[in-house]
Symmetry: C2
Subunit: 125 residues, 2 copies
DNA sequence: TCGTTAATTAACTTATCGGTTAAACGTAGA
DNA sequence: TCTACGTTTAACCGATAAGTTAATTAACGA
């Protein structure tokens, strides 16, 4: 696997078990066995998934006695989203669609719309 | 690798060459050799990267004569972003930050801020 | 101190990834 | 029809991912 930061993040997310672990951690910190409980795989396998998530910076871990608690660290998700953000113009007719969506979520007042699409740079990796 | 749709998408993105190809396609359609040009890897390798991207739904391809043109298909990025979106509350103090960001991109007028965070469901995979 | 519990490490297996070179395919043009 | 070009397929290689079971580590508690 590629070792650049973004690749490590996306690779960590490319597994349903790891995504489910993140979903669980969104509800609050948990120990390894708590995280393992819903799955039909061994504890060492979970332990390795956690290592992958930790290596990607998606979780951080602490120990108290014999328990190791994991907690969600969403910063890498922000990075990954930031990378995708530049393609948003291709799937949203314009940025106002998202704007409108956010407003709907907040049950807030109407918003003016305009049309200047912001051109986006490319990265070469 | 896991075969569920989201895993296939994230896995496709977990490679810098493939992300660079997507970046190139954001500027417009391109043939295989045009896409290969910036890279120090063989044409068959590029061909396989394209197959991965196509399988993930990130590009679609057409042929005219002996040239195969690829074009960006951003729908899967929308799906991936949608999955991450639920974690946004963990890295943004509130959704207004994004709102503000969008406004800045549009060089539009100031926006009022409020504080209702929208709670988010979890998926179990 | 001894047993129990929580978790990790070690050793191994199987499958897949990302690259290579060589061969084959499909179309256009001389 | 033959050749050249753009691309894919085939066969292979070395590295690594994701799982297993068994052994080890680390801390607590009787």
């Amino acid at each position: 696997m590629a070792t650049d930061r973004l690749s490590v993040i996306f690779a960590a997310l490319a597994d349903p078990t790891r995504r489910a672990i993140l979903a669980r951690l969104a509800e609050g910190d948990a120990t390894v066995s708590e995280l393992a409980e819903p799955f039909a795989i061994s504890l060492p396998a979970i332990s390795r998934h956690l290592k992958v998530l930790e290596h990607a910076g998606l979780i951080s871990r602490s120990r108290s006695a014999q328990w190791r608690s994991s907690s969600l660290n969403p910063e890498p998700l922000r990075e990954a989203t930031a990378w995708m953000e530049r393609y948003r113009q291709f799937w949203d007719a314009n940025f106002d669609r998202l704007d409108a969506h956010l407003r709907r979520m907040r049950q807030a007042q109407a918003t003016p719309t305009d049309n200047d699409k912001t051109p986006t740079d490319n990265d070469k990796q």
